[in-house]
Every structure is written in structure tokens, then in C-alpha cells.
Amino acid sequence: MMEWLSLKEWSPYLVGFGIGLLNCIAFLLSDKPLACSTAYSRTSGMIEGLCLGPKVADKPYYKKFSPSIEWDWMLVLGIIIGAFISAMLSGQFHLEWVPAKWSVTFGNMPFVRWVVAFIGGILMGIGARWAGGCTSGHGISGTLQLAISNWLAAICFFIGGILTAMLIF
């Protein structure tokens, strides 16, 4: 068992099966699909609230998604912990300044990589809220409910992503 948990990699199909099961459990026990991006919106609102005071919670968007610690926030916290445990068990945990594939094409200057990651993050933060979900909420949990909005958004994630990746690499 321990040996299996310490493997560097599992079959992607086994991993997908596991995530699918987690989604079923989430529907059953929490009446919610697995989804991550709302947690960022809440965190952003909480930080804004710390800086500008409680009136931030009156913004129309935060009336819809309150800037407080909710189920989805704990889910994202859990992801950090779970990935940390997995990486520790397989000996893969290490501080990485610049990903390998990036440094082959763009060099190993952390500053350059971080600026691009930051700009990408801003677009992702806007896009996820604009579309009402991300790769997990739309791409997995939404598509499995066969909703049209989810399929459309998930396809657009990949169209935008593939075109941009092909352009920059």
C-alpha cells in the first residue's frame, strides 16, 4: 500500500476515475459539484475587505459569492495539502523557481517567468469569473451534468489555450 502511495505517477485513467468518484461523493454529501475558482473570488474579496473595510461585501458580485471561508475555499486548501502529501511521499517535493519546459524556450530567469505567470493569472481570474467556472467546475463537474454552458465554456478554454500556447512556443 505504502509503496503504491509513494509512486511518482499513477495512470491518468485511475486518477480520472478517482476524481469522478470524489465528484459523486460531493454531490451526495454536500449537494455541490467539485469546483475551485469561486474560492479565489472569495479570497480576493476577503483581502479587499481587510484593506478597504467591510463595505467591500456590499459589491453586487460579493452579494452573490460572499467573501468568506466556505466549502469551496476548504476544498482548495485541501488540494494544496493533498498534493503536498503526495509529493512528499514520492520524494518529488522541491521548491521550483522556473518550470523546466519554460526555461528551455524562455530561459531560467525567475522574474520573467513570474511576470508572465502573473499576467496569465490575471486573465485566468477574470476569465474564470466571466465564464462562471474553471477547468474543474465547467470542464469536469459541469460537463458531467451535460449542461450546454459547461461544454461550451470547456471547449473555449481549450481553443483559447491551444492557440495561445502554439503562438508563444
Binding site: V15, S86, W114, I126, I140, T143, I148
Partner: protein, 185 residues
């Protein structure tokens, strides 16, 4: 049957955490918390992300619809519109390629020690989400409701029992995965 459990906020926070831990564990074991793997998918040289996502969709789709057939789960399809799903989706996609993680996998990347994810990406996503919240009233009035189709699902569109759509979609996805494996991707 679980209605009372759904309403208990403290326990729900614990359940959220307890679901997140295996979620992060699976994402890390699948390799999809790595920049190289996600960019490989967007460059169409490494199909790990698609394999993980599609097998999660098949499993979850059958499982959730079974739960629903037994009255144990309610679907929560997201409302959508052309202005929201398509434009938002494309903006997200551009960010996806520049960042090389998504909001879920970046949390896993941070867990395994990725600093570009933590200081670059997460900070960016938070700023982006904040900018959106600021612009939301205007966006909602002018763009987000363009060509609205609400919470429509495919079975509702075709006016059929959900299983009439679930089974062919599941078979189609399995077929696609076999095709991907056969072509050595």
C-alpha cells in the same frame, strides 16, 4: 436523506477539506499539477490532461446520474450565455496558456513547491477575480447576458430521459480515449 447534512455549515467545511485532500493527491499523482504536462496538453504533445478529465467526466457522469435516478442527488448545471461562456472561456484559455496551470491544479502545484504558481499565478488569479468583481455590474448589464440559454442541459434540449444522452456520451468518450491511446499520444 442527506438534506440535514447539507445544511450543517461546520460539518460541510470539514467535508470540503476532506474532499480536497484526495483531490489534490490525485491531481499530483496524475502529473497534472506540473506546468510541463499542462503546456504539453495545450501544444498537443502530451494528452495526460485530457485523459484525466475525460475519465473523470465518464465516471462522474454515470455516478451522479445514478445517484439522481435514486433520488440521492440534485443536478446543479450552471447558467450560461454566449457572452459569458464563450467570451469568458476564451479569456480563460489565453490565461491558461500563459500561466500553465488552472485554478485547481495551481493549488496542487503550490503544494508540491512550485514558486511561479504561488508568487506569479495565484497572485494574478486573485487580482483578476477582484478586477472582475469590480467590473461585474457593467459586464452583467452589457455582455454576460448576451444570447442567454440559462441552465439548459442536453437531455432537456432534446426532451429525453438523461440516460439517453449519458450512455452515448460515455461510449463516445471511451472511444475517443481508445483512439488517443492507439495513436500513441
Amino acid at each position: 436523506m442527506f438534506k440535514a447534512l447539507h445544511a450543517r455549515k461546520g460539518i460541510q467545511l470539514v467535508i470540503g477539506l476532506l474532499l480536497g485532500i484526495p483531490f489534490g493527491f490525485f491531481l499530483q499523482k496524475g502529473g497534472v499539477t506540473r506546468y510541463d504536462v499542462i503546456i504539453g496538453q495545450l501544444l498537443l504533445t502530451n494528452f495526460t490532461v485530457v485523459k484525466v478529465m475525460l475519465s473523470a467526466v465518464v465516471t462522474g457522469m454515470i455516478g451522479v446520474h445514478l445517484l439522481r435516478s435514486f433520488g440521492l442527488a440534485t443536478l446543479h448545471p450552471k447558467p450560461g450565455s454566449f457572452g459569458s461562456s464563450v467570451i469568458g472561456g476564451l479569456i480563460f484559455g489565453v490565461g491558461f496558456a500563459l500561466l500553465g496551470y488552472c485554478p485547481g491544479t495551481i493549488a496542487g502545484a503550490v503544494g508540491q513547491g512550485s514558486l511561479d504558481g504561488l508568487f506569479g499565478g495565484m497572485a494574478g488569479i486573485l487580482l483578476g477575480a477582484g478586477l472582475f468583481a469590480e467590473a461585474y455590474p457593467k459586464l452583467d448589464r452589457f455582455i454576460l447576458r448576451k444570447a442567454d440559454f440559462g441552465e439548459l442541459t442536453l437531455p432537456q434540449l432534446f426532451k429525453v430521459n438523461p440516460w439517453v444522452v449519458v450512455l452515448p456520451v460515455a461510449i463516445g468518450i471511451v472511444f475517443l480515449l481508445v483512439l488517443i491511446e492507439r495513436s500513441g499520444l
